[in-house]
Symmetry: C2
Subunit: 267 residues, 2 copies
C-alpha cells in the first residue's frame, strides 16, 4: 500500500489526526477517515485493508461499510470485496458545483485557458487549511505536466499557496504550515520567514510566480480570485516549462490575471 513515492500526496488525513488511535472513536469519525483514505489511495480497497488503513477494528469497519454501501456513498467494486466511492457522492458533488458559482465558472475558465495557451491550467482553493487542486485541465504539451484533481500539496510548495494565504495572520499561517511542509520534494528547506515574506509580496503584487519548487522543470504562475475585496477565495494557475521566456511568461501572467479578475466578485 504506502507507495513510498514521495511526490505529493500526504496519506495522513483529516482535521485533527489523533495520537495513538484513541481507543473508542466516534462512528462518524471513522467514516470520515474511510473517505479520506479512499481519496488518498484513489482506488477500490478491500475491507480488511481498509480497517488496517484507518487503524480501526475490523468489525467496526464491516458495519460502517455496510451502512455506507446501503446508503450509496460507497459501492462494492467489481470483483466483490473491495469498496470505493459511490454514486451518491457523485450526486452530492454535482450539487455542490451547482450551488457554487465560482467553481462552476472557474472550471469553465480553466478549461478555456488551457485550450488557448496549450499549458496545464488549474483552479486551486484552500480546503480546510490545505491547498487543493479543485480542477485541472491538462494542456497540450507532449510531455504532460499532470496533477490530478483533488490532490493536496503543502502550501509552501506552490505559487497559489502564497496567494491563498494573503491576508491571514502570521499565527494562523504558522498553524497551517507544518515543519514537513517547508521541506521541498528535492530536500531543500524553506524558511518560514521567507515564506511569509513571499505571501506578503504576492498579495501586494496580485500574482505570484515560483520556479522549480515542486520539480526542477516547471514554473508555476498564479493569480488570485477574490470573493470579496481583499479576500482570496481561489487561484487560477498555469504550469509552464521552467525555461519559458521572460516575455511569454509576462504575457501569460497578464492573461491569467485578466481571467482571474473576471471571476472575482468585485465588492
Amino acid at each position: 500500500m504506502q507507495d513510498g513515492n514521495a511526490l505529493a500526496v500526504r496519506p495522513d488525513a483529516g482535521p485533527d489526526e489523533d495520537k495513538i488511535s484513541g481507543s473508542r472513536e466516534k462512528g462518524l469519525n471513522r467514516v470520515l477517515h474511510i473517505l479520506e483514505f479512499l481519496h488518498a489511495n484513489q482506488r477500490a480497497i478491500g475491507i480488511g485493508d481498509l480497517a488496517k488503513g484507518v487503524n480501526a477494528p475490523r468489525s467496526t469497519i464491516y458495519t460502517l461499510v455496510r451502512s455506507l454501501v446501503d446508503a450509496g456513498l460507497l459501492e462494492m467494486a467489481g470483483d466483490g470485496n473491495r469498496v470505493y466511492f459511490g454514486k451518491k457522492l457523485y450526486l452530492y458533488g454535482m450539487d455542490y458545483v451547482r450551488g457554487n458559482d465560482l467553481l462552476r465558472r472557474g472550471r469553465h475558465e480553466v478549461d478555456n485557458l488551457s485550450r488557448e495557451t496549450g499549458e496545464t491550467s488549474e483552479l486551486c482553493m484552500l480546503q480546510s487549511g490545505r491547498y487543493t487542486i479543485v480542477h485541472s485541465s491538462p494542456g497540450t504539451r507532449p510531455f504532460r505536466i499532470s496533477s490530478a484533481t483533488g490532490l493536496q500539496i503543502p502550501l509552501p510548495w506552490t505559487a497559489s499557496g502564497r496567494l491563498l494565504l494573503a491576508g491571514f495572520e502570521r499565527a494562523v499561517i504558522e498553524d497551517m504550515v507544518s515543519e514537513d511542509d517547508l521541506v521541498l520534494p528535492d530536500g531543500r528547506r524553506l524558511l518560514l520567514d521567507d515564506f511569509i515574506a513571499d505571501i506578503a509580496t504576492a498579495g501586494a503584487a496580485g500574482y505570484c510566480v515560483t520556479s522549480g519548487l515542486v520539480d526542477a522543470y516547471t514554473k508555476c504562475l498564479a493569480a488570485p480570485i477574490f470573493s470579496a475585496p481583499g479576500k482570496v477565495e481561489a487561484t487560477m494557475c498555469l504550469v509552464v516549462p521552467i525555461d519559458t521566456s521572460e516575455e511569454k511568461t509576462g504575457n501569460l501572467i497578464a492573461l491569467l490575471r485578466e481571467r482571474a479578475a473576471r471571476l472575482s466578485i468585485t465588492g
Copy 2:
C-alpha cells in the same frame, strides 16, 4: 434502516413514515439524513430548519454539523448560519467519476448526443433501488425540457425505468416499486402487471419509448447500456416533443441504440 430515504420528488408532503424514530439514532444515520435532505432541497439550509427537516434534536445536529463542516463535507453558506454541501464532497464525487469508466464516457456521449440532435439527453442509472438521472444535457429547444442531475423519479414513470429493471425477478421489482410510484403525476394509475409486462417487452426489444407519462408534452426514448451480457447498468435517453414524427423518432432510436451499444461492455 429499511426505509432508506423517503424523500423523492415530493417536496415535503409532511407526515409520511419516519416510524416511531427510536429517538436515539446512530450519528451516522443522522448524517446520511442530513445529506439526503440537503440534496432534496438543493439549497443551503439553516441549522434549526435542518434539525426539523431530519426530525432530530437541535443539539445533535449542531454537533454533527460542526464535525461535517470541519471535515469539509459541508460548508457554511455565505450569510452565516446556513449549511450546504462542501468541497470535499465535490472532490470525492470527482474521484468516483475518475474511477468509473462508464460514467465518464457516458457523460461525454450524452453531451454529444444532445448537441447533435438538439434534444435533451440523459444518462440514467439505478441508485440503491431508485431511478436516478446521473447526467443530463439540456438540448437547444427554446422550451427547454430540463431535469436536474440527481433527480429521483419513480421507476414506472420512465422509459429508462423499464429497461433498468429488465432481468430482475418479479419479487424484486415489486419490492422496488411502491403503490405511490404507480400513480402518474396527472393522477392516472398504472397496473403493476402492465408495468412488469412493459419491462419484459422493453428488455426484449432493446429499447423503450414512453409517451406522455411524466407530462403531456414529451416522449421519452431510451436504450440500455450493458455492463455485462444481459446486465443493464445504465440507460441513455432522449426527451423529445410528443408530436415528433414516427420517422424522426425511429431515426433517433437507432442513433440512441448505436451510442448506447458503443458504451456497453460486450462480454
